[in-house]
């Protein structure tokens, strides 16, 4: 054990390797963490940094991952591996060119990305989406912590547009090999039929379940609450996002607009829970200020319901998160400007 530790440490600080030392440093960080202790003040209170943020997110995603393996087979693990390798290659290239450490951000992106894909997605589509997402969604903006848009969603959006047939009309029925074009959302849109709530909570539907990670909604709720308790994700975003969706669809139903599904169905269908718990709460792309978080969550909720009901697409969570990601900087700067105004009076 000590030999490995010393080897990695030496490789990381080996001048001859130049930028190629970065992968070794990352391995060292993942396996051993930091053991350096400060002698004088200031001392750190808690050793929470990107790595622990990311590990918490991955633990929270485990129930969804396990459920997706149970429902759709071991193929899922293969797709996660493909996403890790393809995203990792882009990440390593950029780390070498920039002569910087490899950030752990892509571990969460590579885990989330296969979870939001339909079970029948071929592996090469995963590669295209992941490379596009990490490259154009994150690395060109300057790497982890600098991205404006959620990289996993950028990749998902790109392949949704590039391969519409594959990504939005062939869904596998959980626990079987049947491929169907029906999901709870599309069935509601075309026939107005609702599904059984308990079945939707557990994800063992008789029709197409949806994306791999979004079917086992009980696990998503558990993972999301776990993140909120650890304060890795801020509770405001999911609370106001889901609340807006429920309130908006409830009001619309009062006025008798039948294109908008009832609140419980909105909450339990599609990627809403997954998006609200794991993607909208992304600490990098969501607003920094608390009022900003609330405003952007409300906007997301309204957009989601509208796109679901009236657009050509069945699911609006992905689009609404990307659209509000674009609005978040301006929301933040307006909130800050407002704050300064109040103080100076």
């Amino acid at each position: 054990m000590k030999a490995i530790k010393n080897f990695l440490k030496q490789m990381a600080h080996n001048k001859a390797l130049g930028g190629f030392g970065a992968p070794f440093e990352t391995m060292y960080g993942i396996l051993f963490g930091t053991s350096e202790v400060t002698l004088k003040a200031p001392h750190i209170r808690d050793n929470i940094e990107i790595k622990r943020f990311m590990s918490c997110a991955i633990i929270a995603l485990l129930p969804s991952l396990a459920a997706s393996i149970y429902y759709f087979g071991w193929h899922m693990l293969f797709l996660v591996a493909v996403a890790y390798v393809s995203g990792g290659i882009v990440e390593v290239i950029f780390a070498i060119v920039r002569k910087r450490e490899i950030e752990e951000g892509f571990l969460v992106t590579g885990m989330i990305f296969p979870l939001v894909l339909p079970p029948t997605t071929p592996w090469w589509v995963v590669v295209i989406g992941m490379v596009f997402g990490v490259f154009f969604g994150k690395e060109v903006f300057g790497g982890t912590g600098r991205n404006i848009f959620n990289p996993a969603l950028v990749g998902r959006l790109f392949i949704t547009i590039a391969f519409p047939q594959m990504l939005s009309s062939s869904w596998q029925v959980p626990l079987s090999d049947v491929i169907t074009s029906a999901t709870p959302l599309s069935v509601y849109k075309t026939q107005g039929v609702l599904q059984d709530p308990l079945m939707m909570l557990l994800g063992n539907s008789q029709i197409g379940g949806g994306c791999m990670g979004e079917t086992f909604r009980l696990g998503i709720i558990l993972g999301g609450v776990f993140l909120m308790i650890l304060k890795v994700s801020n509770f405001r975003t999911p609370l106001f996002y889901l609340g807006t969706v429920a309130l908006f669809s409830f009001t619309a139903n009062l006025f008798g607009i039948s294109a908008i599904a009832p609140p419980w169905f909105q909450l339990l269908s599609g990627g809403l829970l997954f998006g609200a718990m794991f993607m909208a709460t992304d600490p990098i792309t969501s607003p920094m200020t608390n009022p900003g978080k609330i405003i952007s969550a409300v906007v997301m909720g309204i957009l989601t319901v509208l796109i679901r009901a009236f657009s050509g697409y069945n699911e609006g969570v992905m689009f609404s998160i990307i659209l509000t990601n674009a609005l978040n900087p301006i929301i933040d700067s307006i909130v800050l400007a407002q704050k300064f105004k109040v103080r100076s009076k």
Binding site: V140, F141, I148, I307, G312, F319, S320, A326, P329
Partner: protein
């Protein structure tokens, strides 16, 4: 040709959001990219565009329906539209210079450039092709302007954040801006088929 039956409220929402003049039609890109460096002048230019768009689309509608059409001079419409736009911008420039010299300095060359902003002529031509009524023209011009303003504000705030980031040297400035616009436009595809404009 009779006006299409679209409620003005639907048309207002459609022109601001679902068929945004910038991110769904890709009109008015040049000043969108060059001015969006800072929020304050983006705000100023956005407001100027709202004003110019509303004024010129209504004026051009009147010119087309009361002068060109009765005299059968439709083939002159492009040159006449451009002249009306240029005149409106010229007057607006003098007014802004008088009322707010600071904004006038901030906008600089881009205020006269509104004349050749493709969004302005584009809206006028959309109005003519879709044969909107007067109220529809007013609402569509206003909505397109508001959509332009919101889009440039959002982009300016994003660019302020990206400015400090270690963006690859070759992509600094317009390069990364075009990537941001592309990603925003991808998000706008979610609105496809939502509201009808023609």
């Amino acid at each position: 040709m009779t006006a299409p039956e679209i409620s003005p409220i639907v048309l207002l929402f459609a022109s601001i959001f679902t068929s945004n003049i910038l991110l769904a039609n890709f009109l008015g890109m040049c000043s969108f990219i060059s001015i969006s460096k800072d929020i304050k002048s983006s705000n100023g230019l956005g407001l100027a565009v709202i004003l110019v768009l509303t004024l010129t689309s209504v004026l051009n509608w009147a010119v087309y329906h009361f002068i060109l059409s009765p005299l059968h001079l439709e083939y002159l419409r492009f040159i006449v539209f451009i002249m009306v736009i240029a005149a409106v911008v010229q007057v607006l420039e003098m007014v802004i210079d008088r009322v707010s010299p600071a904004l006038y300095m901030a906008l600089g060359i881009f205020l006269p450039l509104i004349t050749v902003n493709c969004a302005i002529l584009g809206v006028t031509l959309f109005v003519e092709i879709r044969s909107y009524s007067f109220i529809q023209t007013l609402v569509y011009g206003l909505g397109s302007g508001v959509g332009w303003w919101l889009a440039i504000l959002a982009l300016a705030a994003i660019r302020k954040k990206v400015d400090n980031a270690p963006v690859p040297a070759g992509l600094k400035g317009p390069g990364i801006t075009l990537i941001i616009i592309g990603l925003m436009a991808m998000g706008f595809l979610g609105f496809s088929g939502m509201l009808n404009v023609q």
